[in-house]
């Protein structure tokens, strides 16, 4: 039986538990039980030992798992006859697949003796590797324990070490966001550059016409292939604005009601119920918007003598607003609830009504959190696709009339990316450029928002 990764991890876990125990005991032993003489609590010495036991071994384990395939493959391929050695990398890749499939007992086509033999070798190396890994992991773990054990003296700052490890973890986690950003920029930058070689940047940034109807085949003519992003951004703005007009009052008022007025039972169930709104798949909202709300608006509009398109920004925006209610309501409810009771008491004692207290004391105190939740809701609105596709259509009208059909940046990105396309045509590349510009625009907006929030914070903290 070759040891499975799960088995190795379990062993490592057991070892770390042991390390914790040993470290703790050792710490107690060096001060003969007088914990006060230790720099840190015994459990920190335990944790320190456990870290030393687990981290190096884990690193080796991960490295092995990443490179195992490559290593073994390299060895096995080296043993193949010359005819195989000459194959192109792509073909070799297939040979490897064949070998691996054979290892797993799956044979495509007629079994080839060379492959079968290679598979046998592959199997051997694999099990050898696994056993070696167990040995190395156990050895490293043990060495780690030993090292940590030797370090334990009363003055040893185990807490600081463990906390430094924890801080390192915290810092690492906070950089995930940076790497994500870099990743996103990198994954759209190349194509965007390509796009800008085909479509001038100024045309893209300031063009008032969006109609990516370039030719699909060489024998077609690009119809009015124009790539002006302004209508898309205006559409995004319009739809998001409508969504926020729905979501912010509904969400904020709900949150205030739940946090300040509602009997506990209502609050207990009301809040999670609202949160369900955030989890309903957007397809459902899309159908709701397109088949229920849009016709409703249309008939209402017609009754009023208004010209209403069958797909309207209003329908999409309103339904999107409903979807993002919980972003505002739940997060705001939490921050409102966290305002200390003494603040409320101070206001009530002056003869303020609940609503006055809410508006003038609680809201300002909770403002940073509420702004955060609203920003999040805006973000969600900007990023939403399905509802707009289904209810607002795809026509890039440059309009601020909510009864007209519009389209948004996100929708265009999605349709361009998933539609039929030629990957180096400006049509497809436009999706990347749109992504990049959207990213930049929201970045600018966020910087402004941060400044504004800061200003308020300075005033109220």
């Amino acid at each position: 039986m070759t040891p499975t990764p799960a088995f190795i991890l379990t062993v490592l876990l057991g070892l770390s538990a042991l390390a914790y125990h040993v470290g703790r005991r050792r710490a107690l032993a060096v001060v003969s039980g007088k914990v006060r003489d230790l720099h840190s609590l015994p459990s920190y010495y335990g944790a320190h030992a456990a870290l030393w036991c687990a981290l190096p071994a884990l690193a080796v384990f991960l490295l092995w798992n990443i490179f195992e395939g490559t290593l073994i493959t390299h060895v096995v391929l080296g043993g193949l006859p010359d005819a195989y050695q000459q194959k192109s990398p792509a073909e070799l890749n297939l040979v490897i697949n064949d070998i691996r499939n054979t290892v797993r007992g799956i044979v495509a086509g007629t079994p080839d003796p060379v492959i079968t033999a290679a598979a046998e070798r592959y199997r051997q190396w694999q099990s050898l590797g696994s056993f070696a890994l167990v040995a190395v992991v156990a050895g490293l773990g043990g060495a780690g324990i030993g090292y940590a054990w030797r370090q334990i003296v009363p003055q040893f700052r185990a807490r600081n070490r463990v906390e430094r490890a924890m801080s390192a973890f915290l810092v690492t986690c906070s950089t995930v966001a940076i790497f994500t950003t870099i990743g996103i920029v990198l994954s759209v930058a190349f194509e965007s550059m390509l796009f800008f070689t085909k479509v001038p940047v100024t045309d893209f940034l300031f063009g008032l016409d969006w109609s990516p109807q370039t030719a699909i085949r060489a024998d077609q003519t690009g119809a009015s292939g124009s790539f002006g992003m302004i209508p898309l951004f205006v559409g995004t703005l319009l739809v998001s604005l409508i969504a926020m007009i729905v979501a912010v009052p509904l969400g904020l008022l709900s949150a205030l009601y739940l946090a300040e007025y509602a009997p506990p039972a209502v609050r207990t169930y009301g809040k999670p119920l609202l949160e369900v709104l955030a989890g309903i798949p957007t397809v459902v909202y899309g159908f709701f918007a397109a088949l229920t709300v849009a016709p409703l608006i249309r008939s209402a509009g017609t009754a009023l003598g208004l010209e209403v398109a069958s797909e309207s920004a209003l329908a999409a925006g309103a339904v999107m607003g409903i979807m993002i209610i919980p972003f505002v309501s739940s997060l705001s409810d939490d921050v409102i609830n966290a305002v200390p009771q003494a603040m409320r008491d101070g206001s009530y004692a002056l003869g303020a009504t609940k609503s006055e207290t809410i508006k003038q004391v609680i809201l300002p105190a909770a403002l940073p959190g509420i702004v955060g939740s609203v920003l999040l809701a805006v973000s969600r609105a900007i990023g939403e696709t399905m509802i707009v596709v289904m209810a607002a259509g795809l026509s890039a009208n440059l309009t601020l009339n909510p009864l007209d059909s519009v389209t948004t940046v996100t929708v265009q990105i999605v349709t361009l990316l998933v539609g039929d396309q030629e990957f180096d045509s400006p049509k497809t590349l436009a999706a990347f450029a749109l992504g990049l510009v959207l990213f930049t625009v929201t970045l600018a907006l966020n910087i402004i928002a941060l400044r504004v929030v800061r200003k308020y914070r300075e005033q109220y903290e």
């Binding site: 004692a349 002056l350 009504t353 105190a365």
Partner: protein, 296 residues
């Protein structure tokens, strides 16, 4: 001592016993079924507020037991008693601030100008506008110093112009003895003040709306003697128009500012009387023990 008030109370000069209102009415001498019988000047002639058989429970804890007491018009009454005896709790009953505490139940009757403040149709917002409060722990709003004081007048529409508001804020801050220290930083946050400054800010905030009754829970605990003197002066001045209840641990202070003093002990109101009498000649031995620095 204010002689007018002393005269008003002449008919009550003899200490009376009171526990339940019915006891008062029917047989004042029979022991109450439970709870302590309060000794002394429980009632006054022209009460601004009166409490009858008030009980407060925090969950199971019986924090205030059958308390009956009047708060006179234009009088300063001091509540004294060991820490944890229920002074703050009782104070909070008087403007229904206890409503905001989960699990706190109040029974009995409390009236303001003869109207039951626990009546169903009573507007508690108005009640609190009329019965103001300074809390034990200073709790300035996370707003600027100016806005902290201006808050009350604004919501009650007491001022019609900005300059009027500024005058009012200045007046309140001056009365609380804080003006000089903050006049240059009116628009900085009230939470950035020192402990004693915050306490005075809260006093300024409370008097800014000129409530009819002011409940002060240890208003001078964080103040130096000079600031304390200033506040005491303020209290004396306010008494001309308002009624004031002050919780204090300093018997000297009680003696300086109050006309009557009430002594609480473990949730019981033990004794009420003219301040001078309480401090010089307490009737109940628990009171005496407290006054003289040891427990009964």
């Amino acid at each position: 001592m204010n002689t007018a008030i002393a005269q008003q109370r002449a008919i009550h000069q003899e200490p009376v016993m009171a526990a339940h209102p019915q006891d008062l009415a029917f047989n004042a001498t029979e022991p109450a079924p439970e709870g302590h019988r309060t000794v002394g000047l429980v009632t006054v002639d022209n009460p601004k507020m009166s409490a009858r058989d008030v009980n407060v429970h925090y969950g199971d804890k019986h924090a205030i037991k059958h308390v009956t007491i009047d708060i006179g018009t234009n009088e300063v009454i001091a509540f004294i008693g060991p820490s944890g005896c229920g002074k703050s709790t009782f104070l909070r009953c008087l403007n229904r601030m206890n409503d905001t505490i989960d699990g706190c139940r109040v029974s009995g009757e409390i009236t303001l100008d003869g109207h039951d403040i626990y009546a169903r149709d009573l507007d508690v917002v108005q009640l609190r506008a009329r019965v103001g409060m300074v809390f034990q722990k200073p709790n300035p709003f996370p707003k600027s110093i100016f806005d902290n004081v201006a808050y009350g007048p604004r919501i009650h529409g007491m001022v019609s112009s900005k300059s009027e508001l500024e005058d009012l804020v200045q007046w309140a801050l001056e009365k609380a003895g804080l003006w000089n220290e903050v006049k240059d930083r009116l628009h900085q946050p009230g939470t950035g003040l020192s402990g004693g400054q915050q306490q005075r800010l809260c006093i300024a905030r409370a008097i800014s709306v000129s409530p009819e009754v002011i409940l002060m829970d240890e208003p001078c605990s964080a103040l130096d003697p000079i600031a304390t003197a200033k506040i005491e002066e303020l209290i004396d001045e306010l008494r001309a128009n308002f009624s004031i209840v002050i919780v204090t641990h300093s018997m000297q202070q009680a003696a300086r500012v109050s006309q009557r003093t009430a002594y609480f002990h473990l949730g019981d109101l033990i004794e009420v009387g003219e301040t001078e009498q309480i401090f010089t000649n307490p009737v109940h031995k628990l009171t005496e023990g407290y006054i003289t620095g040891r427990f009964g």
